[in-house]
Every structure is written in C-alpha cells, then in structure tokens.
C-alpha cells in the first residue's frame, strides 16, 4: 500500500474541473518579490482581460491551434531561417509560412510600457523572441484588445530604431525575417503558420515590470498591422534565447535568469520572476542543449520517463535523435511515437479500473470518471540529462474536457525523426 501511495496521486474527481468561484487567489511569490509579475490564465477569473468572468475556451480549437504551433516549431527546426524582407505596405499580402505559431497562448503577464506608463497584458512565450504590442495608428488592421492600444506619440520615452542599426540587423534571427527600411526607420515583420502576423516599427521604449524594476530603451515591435489569434491581449513578451529577447536585453540586471510557475487553475495566479530572487533550493537543473544551430529554443535532453514508479522501456536514442525543447506556449507535451506508445500503454494498464472513452483531437487516451468521487492515477516523471528527475504535478497529467472525458495530456509526434 505504501508503494502504491508513493507512485500515484489520489485526487478528488471534482477538483479536475475549474472552480465555479469568481474569486482569485494571488501568488504569494508574485506579491512579495520585487521583480515578479503575476501570471494568469488568459481566460480565467484572475485575468484582467476577463472582468472576473471565467470563460470556457473551445478545447478542440485550443488543441487544433496547439498542433499548428507544434508543426511550425518542427518546421522551424528543420529549415534555415527565412531572409525575406518585409515592408509595412505589403504586409497583408505576406503568405502564411512556417514560423513560430502562437497557438492558444494561454498565459499572460501585465507590464508597463512607455511614459506615462500603460499597463498592457502580454502573452509570455519562451518559444519566441521579439516582444511586440499593437500600436496606434493602425495602418491596416488591428485586432480587438481589452486595454487601450499603445500610442507612441503620447509617450516621452519612445524612439524609432534606425534601419542601419545592429538591432535592426538582428531581426533575421529573432523573427525569421530581415528588417527593412521606411524613411530610415526599421520595419519588423513576424508572421505565423496560421496566418497571424504583426508588422510595424522596431522601436525602443521604457518597460516597467514593477516600481523598482524599470528598463529604458528596450527594443520591441510597435505593430501597426496585426492579425490573428491575439484577441484580447495587447501583444507578446518574447522570452527566447535570441539577443533581441527580453531576458537578453535585461541581462545586465538579471543575468538571463527568470523563473515561473503556471497556475493549476484559472482562479489562481502564478508568477513570472526575473532574476534569481526566491528560486527554490530544491531546483534540479539540466543543461540546455543546442537542438539545432540557429534556433533560440531552450533545448532539453530527455533520458527516461517513469510511470507509476516504473521506467518505460524506451531506448535512449528514441529521445536523443530528435531532441527536445521546453516551451511555455505549447499546451500538450509531444513525444516521439515510440516513447508515446510506451507511455500510453503503461498508463492505460495502471488505469485499467477506470472505463475508457473516445478520444478528442490529438488526445487518444481518455477516461470516463463520472462514476467516481476520487481517482488514483499513476505518477509520471521525466528524467533529464545531468540527473534531474521531474515528477509532474497531478494537474500535469490530464487534459479535462468534462468529467466523462478526461484525457491523458500527451501526444505523439507523427514521425520518430521530429
């Protein structure tokens, strides 16, 4: 019995669904650390975009978009960066091509931009680099956002960037598109595999994280032509490894260190903390691997997966050949087909007392838990190179459509090589 308890989670089935409460529990870490921001679920009760009314996103659409993001990540890893130039006037004619896809972009933070400060909610994304927000005037189209669109002409700390600057030259690696010129000002363009895009001026502006953490002259995209999956939010905070990313630009203050916790429920906030303040002593580290030259992803080396205390029989080359990365914007973990097959088989065997039901979208292993008050599920742990063993939280195993359709939140890639 002791062994079973160690290797499994026993949870209330009712806790799998979002709380019906409209209250919001704030992260103590984000409330007490000076370089820390509250992380909220974009559609949750804690989101300032939601007016306290939790919404139920369309799960099938979220998973469809998640697959689009994964497809574009694979494409980005397998191709050299594009060097197309973009121009503001032609931007709506840009073909949709593989790039970093936003996907459902579930988690947001609020940062202050400009002087005086404008609080803007940005999707935070470790899978891309350029920070951008919608700007006035919209020369073509802007999508609806909750907060007022940033107006650079009303900020005393805003500067356009010259197209001869090094920063403009860095756009190729940060966005996949070289910058171009408009009256000597640098124009950026970033487009996504689902036809979302942002085009505008590369600019410098004051960023205010908290009252004590303020940065002048941060490069960002002031987008005057934006379309896509961003409805409600003001833009995106790029946390990748490229030199134009926010962590790289604030390296003198934070040494490219940041940490976060994604909340388990839409009625809680997590934190995004820059610098090493408050990092747990129990953190286990694994080296960042270079997954492909020229990309700014955070690469990981998966060594093994354990289900219910049992290591899955997966040859190490199954993981090492394609490599792996961590991404705050991808929803469902993707595994090489052989690894996913082993995980699914072991998980189903250990869940055999619960009835199975039909799959949804990319998720094919689902259970009907409607007849149960509690459920005992096997623990899942990932081992990474360097000896880090990461046991997933109980909320990190299932994706819940409804109590009668609770699915294993993993999917297989289509090909062992990707």
């Amino acid at each position: 019995a002791q062994e079973r308890e160690t290797d499994s989670h026993t949870i209330q089935v009712s806790s799998l669904l979002p709380s019906s409460s409209s209250s919001c529990v704030l992260s103590p870490r984000a409330s007490t650390t000076k370089s820390s921001l509250h992380v909220t679920h974009r559609h949750g009760t804690c989101s300032r975009l939601n007016n306290g009314k939790a919404t139920s996103p369309d799960h099938v659409e979220i998973l469809r978009l998640d697959q689009a993001r994964v497809n574009s990540i694979h494409s980005k890893l397998s191709k050299k960066l594009a060097t197309d130039h973009v121009s503001e006037s032609k931007s709506t004619d840009l073909p949709a091509k593989d790039g970093s896809t936003l996907g459902s972009g579930n988690y947001i933070v609020t940062v202050g931009l400009g002087t005086p400060k404008n609080d803007l909610s940005l999707i935070f994304d470790t899978g891309s680099d350029l920070t951008w927000t919608q700007c006035q005037p919209c020369v073509r189209t802007c999508y609806d956002q909750k907060e007022p669109i940033f107006n650079p002409s009303k900020s005393t700390s805003y500067y356009n960037v010259s197209c001869s600057s090094a920063a403009c030259g860095s756009l190729s690696s940060a966005t996949g598109n070289a910058g171009s010129c408009s009256a000597s000002n640098c124009i950026y363009g970033i487009q996504y595999g689902d036809q979302s895009f942002s085009v505008g001026f590369l600019a410098k502006e004051k960023f205010t994280l908290t009252n004590s953490d303020v940065f002048d002259g941060v490069y960002f995209g002031c987008g005057e032509n934006n379309q896509g999956l961003f409805t409600g939010v003001a833009g995106l905070l790029g946390l990748g490894r490229d030199k134009l990313s926010f962590p790289s630009q604030t390296a003198t203050a934070y040494n490219k260190i940041f940490s976060y916790c994604l909340p388990s429920s839409a009625s809680y906030t997590g934190h995004l903390t820059f610098g090493s303040a408050g990092i747990s002593r129990s953190v286990k580290f694994t080296p960042i691997s270079t997954i492909t030259d020229g990309t700014s992803f955070y690469g990981l080396n998966i060594v093994a997966i354990t289900v219910g205390g049992q290591k899955l029989p997966i040859p190490s080359t199954v993981f090492s050949t394609p490599g792996a990365l961590i991404d705050s914007g991808t929803v469902i973990t993707r595994l090489p087909p052989k690894a996913y097959a082993a995980l699914r088989s072991s998980f189903k065997a250990k869940m055999s007392k619960y009835p199975t039901t039909s799959g949804v979208s990319i998720l094919d292993t689902c259970f009907d838990l409607s007849g149960f008050k509690t459920v005992t599920i096997p623990k899942v742990a990932f081992s990474f190179s360097g000896g880090a063993v990461v046991e997933l939280g109980s909320k990190g195993i299932f994706y819940v459509f409804k109590i009668s359709q609770v699915c294993l939140a993993f999917a297989g890639n289509s090909d062992d090589s990707n």
């Binding site: 490219k256 260190i257 976060y260 994604l262 580290f285 080296p287 690469g299 792996a324 880090a388 997933l392």
Partner: protein, 31 residues
C-alpha cells in the same frame, strides 16, 4: 523534437538560467 508543454509544467517552478546554460525544475512552484 519532443516538446515539454505547459500542461505538464503546471505548478512546477521552472527556472531558465540562460547565462549558466541550464533549465531547472522544482515542485510546488506556485505556493
């Protein structure tokens, strides 16, 4: 590539140390 997604990251403390070239994990990061 395999991708470690955000459902699996929930409640973990995830630490990115770009200068040190490492990523770290700890349990109960939101509490």
């Amino acid at each position: 590539a395999a991708i470690f997604g955000n459902v699996q990251q929930q409640t973990l403390e995830v630490v990115y140390d770009g200068a040190g070239g490492r990523v770290g994990f700890a349990p109960n990061g939101c509490s």
